[in-house]
Symmetry: C2
Subunit: 743 residues, 2 copies
């Protein structure tokens, strides 16, 4: 040990005195005390530094610091300068208690002389006497005892702590826990400490001695306590007895010592019903197993023979257990556990049943049968995190991808469109990331659904799936601030409630506003749209390497083409673009498309066929109009219906007027038919048209996207359905409220 | 040790031979081998039991079991009966490898003689030689070595494991890790094992020796390895050197031994930049601190003096550190961390900055300034769980309430209306439950919003809050299967995005279909409705003890009265009742109420005033009709508007006909006005009425609930807005699509 130096060490910088505010001086004073610079302390005090100033952290004052460094001269100086000898740190500790920690008898005497209470305690109930015991300050302990410190005083603590059973520990327990043999001896032999006092959780000094894993003096401590008649059958955490704790420590001598005690409960179980012998077998402690058996421990606890064999204990030991009452026919506990996942159910049931060492809160077994998927690092396996079924993604502990995965998952908790993080475990250089267990990937899901694209029918499946994916990505970008960077069918999962959950964030990027990261996700989404509507016909890997133009060309219809184009060319406001696309016609039900067409057709200008009308100009087709299905639309409507609808003009007194082939007139036609079709007198039309929503969508498949494109940035966009933007509360009226038509 | 018994122990039950299926016999055969009952084995084999049958768990066959029990006679019997000597267990282990585990030389020789490969390994790469090293089977080890087993063979493992850096360990590392001194000596001194071979993570035998906490032979092992020139500067997990690992073990002798090595990197840091000296100070290992300093360790690593003082190391040691280059003026690392919570921001910043021991993944400090709320057990405090800000609810480890809280929270992950579980920690008899940190309770939130109930205005705040609460409870009941049992304003939280989150599940009950548990929640919800609409005017505690009748009487209007009544008298289908109530008019916007009234008024029967019409009969008021605001409604409409609307009849050729005071005519009036009001010629009416939705709601406040009550179980309920039921996908058309009116 080096020599004790009370002088200012040479390599220490002197705080500058140039700063002049008194606030600075207060900090400088504390710094000067810490560095034991008496001259500077005097200077600062003279200049008016506050001698009772307390640091924000912990509430240390100059006096507390002076006591901690055992500088009696500085303490003296500070007290003479008006330092409050009773000032409390934030934790309630007074200078007197700190003197107990550092074991400075002179200072203890000094503070007693100015009025300190010998049993005064901090907010956790620590007295100077207890602190001296904790830190092994024998002289201070003796001094305090001689002056009347209460030996068996238990710690009083704040209400919240008391409610949890904290507090009540004594100096004896402290000495036992910290391995302070000398202090323990003093307490027991000279100061008459009660060896069997218990703390508020009912633990005595023997339990305290066994609590910490690294009490190197535990044997000497236990010997002393046993010699003084400590109760050997008290319980610690999880109901463990001293014997069980000693076994868990693999401490043969201690086990032996405890077994020599007359009243030792050799077969006592902990809260899980396990005995010392069970633990010894489980931990493969062959010597302790033999010792316990020879001392008469019963092996009649669960299927201990099976456990012993699984741990490959010697056959001698197995037979020894048999001779001590081990039952081999104990049936395995009834399994009434039911998995939630149906796909992984059988494997989960198996994993639930087998014995496997647990990693923290995770039960996992690396075997092909429990494997969910391959990854570039360590695969994804089934597991139980705190008894709940999870998918476990494994990474190397130093893997940047693992770090990305965890950091992103931590930021997206409680988002129902993204997978949920249950927790992580890290052991043996391997990181285990536990997330919600899903049933299948999007790839597999589409495979289950016929594998055929839906043409000329409402594709509800694709719409629902893509809507969920879009919402998930919007949430990820806007609420969570991450860009995914690896959107593909195998990273999109379907859970047991058939909900879509976005997963696999190991390439994700904490998004700081760079448009290119969002753009990468949008382009992948474009390919996903095509992948989903074609039911995975073209492998995603193929789509991924195609240029955007080619992807757009593969679109099944104009609507999908427009959606993909829009994803690949987001324009300037990249950030908001995706959430705006939730309002794209692709996501409108056929029912609400029909409603929209009727509402637009109900505009006065359209009904009146008003010349020079803005909306009619907007809607007039560009040159290549013959490509549209609605070019010469009157010829494409059922002849009988067209005739009857034209006849209404006559009735209304507009003789000879007919519907024209303009888009405006088509919309008016749709509106008028919609208002009429359910009337008794139009039963014949209804017979032909059936559901008008279906009829118009099939007859003019690109009418909706055409109208949408023309009107989207005008006031007429008010007729469009409300968007599915998840960031706004979704509380719309359904589109099912059809009204009886009336002219 | 007891004598080795090869006979069937007396206390073992004999398996019954009454069961006759051959499947049973296969299991019986395995059981008979386990119990070493030769007679029974013979009987079963003769009767046709499958000698190569493998158990589902682990794939153990009779032969594997016979080898494990070292019964050479049984092994012989089985082989003669056709047992496959190369059969693999599920983990790939052959009988030969198991013979290595049990160290039975006779069996090893036997299997080699029938063709076993001396270096054959299981799926994790374990050979018989490695197993003999693991289990300390010296004779077997020697035998295998003499017959040519490869000494330095590293474990080959499956792809997934190899990617994580697993595998590559040798018998030497096994012996070092398991504390098998004798084996280690043999390997090094007789078998010429390479002391410096590393596994796939770059760890040598010395690191392996230091990895496990309970290697009681670590000193002898290290001595042997050092004597054979093992590299002392390799790294283990988290970049820790053998010296740092020895310090962390508080193993003075080992530290000393390592420091005597010529090339020891005394100042090497681990991945977190911490040296052996730093760890010694942190762990208060005074002797090791002194030893390291005296051996020349540098103390120039972070603010080690501050750490030493915080740990109350003796001043001698602090000064010793100063003499070894400790800097005291090292500024604390710059804090660029920003809290997410604004309310708890300052306290979180402080907690983030201070040093506090970590409980597992949780940083917490029990002090008033970090306290969020009181509870009956241990309070709720701010904390950081894996660096994320959380609220930490404390329970005693044995508290049933704590168990309930955790079990419910585990079942409700990823529900955005409920608080989210981040994780739990358990230490010192205390359970720490870490959940999402919210900004304030409902109580505080309502206090912030004026504290005044809204009368005669659309109360969007109350509607939104209650809708979220209702949805949360529906999710809890139906998706999660729990009943809350303690719904009250302090258990309903508002997060930083102003979303409502249901919390506090420590009284919750896993719901098994008992209607009374749901009913308890519904009754509490009834009181919450009143509490929210009155902005907390009446304390919840007062409402809670009021009888239902009184609560209903306090309702501000008929709608609220109906909602509360319905909650308190749920009828027979208690389970579905709450989700049905999401469609109650209380949750309809004023806009959609207006739309509903217009749509009902558009029914043909109402427009035509058809006699004996079902809907008109339904709508006719009961005796006490004068209580309704819409009694004699024509007198309550603005006179000018009433006159003009009546005049339309005349125009339509129905001379002298007027609107009557019936509900049916009122609805017709609302419908007709709605269709007309936006037309140019009706500008004067629009001027008076302004927004018709507001006008009708204010003039006839209980019209909507009246119509709802009368029509709710009829086909006309189709005109009601779609419900907010969260369990169905919510993708409706907004109610903003207003149509230009037209007769």
């Amino acid at each position: 040990m080096d020599t004790k130096s009370h002088d200012n060490p040479k390599n220490k910088p002197t705080p500058s005195l140039n700063r002049r505010t008194s606030g600075d001086d207060n900090y400088l004073l504390i710094e000067a005390v810490k560095q034991e610079d008496v001259m500077l302390i005097k200077q600062l005090l003279e200049r008016g530094a506050d001698v009772n100033f307390q640091e924000e952290d912990g509430g240390w004052s100059p006096l507390h610091n002076a006591v901690q460094t055992c500088r009696e001269d500085i303490v003296d100086l500070l007290l003479r300068s008006g330092a409050d000898p009773f000032l409390k740190k934030k934790n309630g500790a007074t200078p007197f208690i700190i003197a107990g920690i550092v074991g400075d008898v002179t200072l203890l005497r000094l503070f007693l002389s100015v009025g300190a209470d010998i049993n005064e305690c901090d907010h956790n109930g620590f007295t100077a006497f207890m602190e001296a015991a904790v830190y092994g300050r024998v002289d201070a302990l003796k001094f305090l005892w001689e002056l009347g410190a209460e030996v068996d005083l238990g710690r009083k603590t704040i209400e919240d702590q008391r409610k949890l059973g904290k507090g009540g520990a004594t100096a004896l327990m402290d000495a036992a826990e910290k391995g302070q043999v000398e202090v323990l001896r003093l307490l027991l032999e000279e100061m008459g400490a009660n060896v069997n006092v218990c703390d508020n959780m009912g633990r005595n000094a023997l339990i305290h001695a066994l609590v910490k894993p690294d009490n190197s003096n535990v044997e000497a401590i236990a010997r002393l306590l046993l010699d003084h008649g400590v109760d050997v059958n008290v319980r610690g955490e999880k109901g463990k007895t001293p014997l069980i704790l000693a076994v868990e420590k693999n401490h043969l001598a201690l086990v032996q010592m405890l077994l020599e005690q007359e009243h030792i409960g050799i077969n006592d179980t902990d809260r899980d019903g396990k005995t010392a012998l069970w633990w010894a077998v489980d931990l493969k402690l062959t010597k302790i197993v033999a010792l316990l058996c020879n001392k008469g421990a019963s092996a009649d606890c669960g299927n201990i023979v099976m456990l012993a064999k699984r741990r490959y204990l010697n056959n001698d030991l197995v037979n020894l257990l048999r001779c001590h009452g081990a039952r081999e026919d104990a049936p395995p506990p009834a399994e009434d556990w039911k998995p939630q996942s149906s796909r992984w159910g059988p494997a989960l049931k198996h994993l639930h049943r087998i014995c496997s060492p647990v990693i923290g809160k995770l039960k996992i077994f690396i075997e092909e049968k429990y494997k969910i998927a391959d990854t570039s690092e360590g695969g994804i396996y089934l597991g139980f995190y705190q008894e709940q079924e999870v998918a476990v993604k494994r990474f190397s502990e130093v893997s940047p991808r693992g770090q990305k995965e965890v950091s992103c998952l931590q930021s997206i908790r409680a988002n129902s469109n993204l997978v949920t993080l249950y927790g992580t475990e890290s052991v043996g250089g391997c990181l285990y990331v536990c997330i919600s267990l899903c049933e299948r990937t999007l790839e597999e899901h589409l495979g289950n659904h016929g594998g055929e694209a839906v043409e000329n029918k409402e594709d509800v499946l694709a719409r629902d799936i893509l809507l969920s994916i879009f919402k998930a990505v919007v949430e990820l970008h806007l609420s969570c601030g991450y860009a995914h960077q690896d959107l593909q069918p195998r990273n999109i999962l379907i859970d047991s409630k058939n909900a879509v959950r976005l997963a696999d964030f190991d390439k994700s990027i904490k998004w700081a506003g760079e448009p290119e990261h969002i753009q990468t996700d949008l382009e992948a989404l474009g390919r996903l749209v095509l992948y989903v509507v074609t039911r995975g016909d073209i492998p995603f890997e193929t789509l991924k390497i195609k240029i955007t133009k080619e992807v757009i060309k593969l679109s099944l219809n104009e609507e999908i083409k427009d959606l993909i184009k829009s994803l690949c060319h987001p324009g300037e406001n990249v950030t908001k673009h995706l959430s705006n696309l939730l309002g794209h016609p692709f996501f409108w039900s056929w029912e609400s498309r029909y409603r929209t067409l009727r509402d637009v057709g109900n505009e006065s200008d359209i009904k009146l066929g008003k010349k020079n009308s803005y909306i009619l100009q907007l809607l007039e087709p560009t040159p290549s109009k013959e490509h549209y299905s609605f070019h010469q639309w009157t010829s494409k409507i059922d002849k009988y219906v067209m005739g009857k609808m034209n006849a209404f003009y006559t009735k209304k007194g507009k003789k000879g007027k007919k519907y024209q082939d303009s888009v405006g007139d088509l919309l008016k036609f749709i509106r008028n038919l919609g208002e009429h079709i359910n009337e008794e007198k139009n039963k014949d039309m209804k017979e032909i048209i059936q559901d008008p929503a279906q009829y118009f969508q099939k007859t003019f498949p690109e009418l909706v996207i055409y109208v949408y494109t023309k009107l989207q940035n005008t006031e007429y966009a008010r007729h469009f359905p409300k968007s599915h933007n998840t960031l706004e509360p979704c509380c719309g009226r359904g589109d099912g409220g059809q009204q009886a038509g009336q002219f």
